[in-house]
Amino acid sequence: MHADDNLEMLMARYQEGDSAAASALIYRLSPQLYRFFAAHSGSRADADDLLQETWLRIHKVRHTYRPGEPALPWFYAIARHIRVDHYRKSIRTSTGERKLEAISKTATLPAKSDRADDLAALLAPLSPGERDVLEMLKVAGMSLEEVARATSSTVGSVKQKAHRAYKKLRETLSGVRLGDGQGGGLL
């Protein structure tokens, strides 16, 4: 039996105003959504913030879920939208910070990262789209069709991104294995 067999039912009850269904959805989906965010940001604080923001957005647009349709891609589509927005904001902020750094010209050591997991480091060489696809396929365990729905793309495009991602990971991991003999290692 698929783990999210009755997500659709819970979602329908959530739309009807059932608070138990809302709580069940939050407690059931939050761990995997959290991992989705952690895989991109690598920061626990960021992943927590993004998770909260996602649930608030889900709550606001819960009427857009069509009863009977797969619920998991609907949740991930919104989570991905929140992540992309956050990514854009962080790029703007980091650009501003870089400008400030250039002005002050003070040499500071980078702050120790509160890296939540190794997955973010492992997926770092991939593009955001490839990361999304791989995380949904291999970590969240979604099907190609579900990933295509969640990423608003076609199954063909998902396959292509997954193929590219594997190619890059293979190169990275092979490099790491070769480097292991000289004391290096990614994981």
């Binding site: 739309q15 105003g17 608070s19 809302a22 709580s23 939050i26 407690y27 939050s30 761990p31 959290y34 991992r35 952690a38 895989a39 992943a47 927590d48 998770l51 909260q52 649930w55 608030l56 709550h59 647009v61 819960r62 009427h63 857009t64 879920y65 069509r66 349709e69 797969p70 619920a71 998991l72 891609p73 609907w74 949740f75 991930y76 589509a77 919104i78 939208h81 854009r88 939540a116 997991d117 190794d118 997955l119 480091a121 492992l122 791989l134 291999k138 970590v139 069709e145 295509a148 729905r149 969640a150 608003s152 793309s153 076609t154 594997y166 990971l169 293979r170 991991l173 294995r177 994981l187």
Partner: protein, 233 residues
């Protein structure tokens, strides 16, 4: 390294922990406080049908005001070919727009690909239908038609936005592109019903241009709107 070995590395590397319990408690409480029943969006076919009706209504209203000279001058073969192609393009664009406004929808083609392929098909259909290769009043007559088409795309875009305003676009620019494409097709509909200038160059350039220009306008409008929203937040 094999794919299943990479899968194993990915599984082993994922975060061992979950979200903070306080975070989940906070989220649950804030949602519970504002939890009320909501009416789900209507079925996709209802929304798609609504968009098609809007396009047809705008095209017919526009042509009724300006006159049905174009369709009156066409032979039955041209009527069938042009309006079938336009109809199919409108149905596909309406479906694409509805999908763009419902998160997690199945997509068979992207909004950009639909625009590109649809425009090329329209060009092909026009090229087959119109064989008058003169270019009298090419610019002046062309600009008049282009503006007429784009002006009719505006009410079509507004009405379609009204119909889908409860939706949520996870990719707003793509939704804007789809909305603009659909609105542009309503504009082309007006031109095909009204314009009796059957010079191939005129139809191929000025009539067809309504669709990509309207689509670009839709995408640009949404992009600027989001930029303004971001800068104000």
């Amino acid at each position: 390294m094999k794919n299943n070995e990479i899968d194993g590395v990915l599984k082993a590397a994922q975060a061992p922990h979950g979200p903070e319990p306080e975070t989940l408690k906070r989220v649950t409480e804030s949602i519970r406080d504002s939890l009320q029943p909501v009416r789900p969006l209507p079925p996709r076919w209802v929304l798609t049908g609504g968009l098609i009706l809007i396009c047809a209504a705008v095209a017919l209203a526009g042509a009724a005001r300006a006159g049905f000279f174009g369709i009156g001058r066409m032979n039955p073969w041209e009527r069938v070919l042009i309006f079938s192609a336009l109809g199919i393009f409108i149905v596909l664009a309406a479906k694409e727009y509805v999908n763009a406004m419902i998160p997690g929808s199945r997509r068979r083609v992207s909004a950009g690909a639909l625009l590109g392929i649809g425009t090329l098909v329209l060009i092909g259909v026009f090229a087959v239908s119109f064989r008058d290769y003169r270019t009298d009043h090419f610019i002046s007559a062309g600009i008049t038609c282009l503006l007429t088409g784009l002006l009719h795309a505006v009410p079509a875009a507004l009405l379609s936005w009204l119909l889908l305003r409860r939706g949520f676009a996870v990719n707003a620019v793509s939704a804007g592109l789809a909305a603009g494409t659909l609105a542009g097709l309503a504009g082309v509909g007006v031109l095909e019903l009204h314009c009796s200038n059957f010079q191939a160059a005129h139809v191929l350039l000025w009539h067809t241009a309504v669709v990509p220009l309207s689509a670009a306008g839709g995408a640009l409008f949404v992009w600027v709107l989001r930029l303004l929203q971001r800068s104000s937040s």
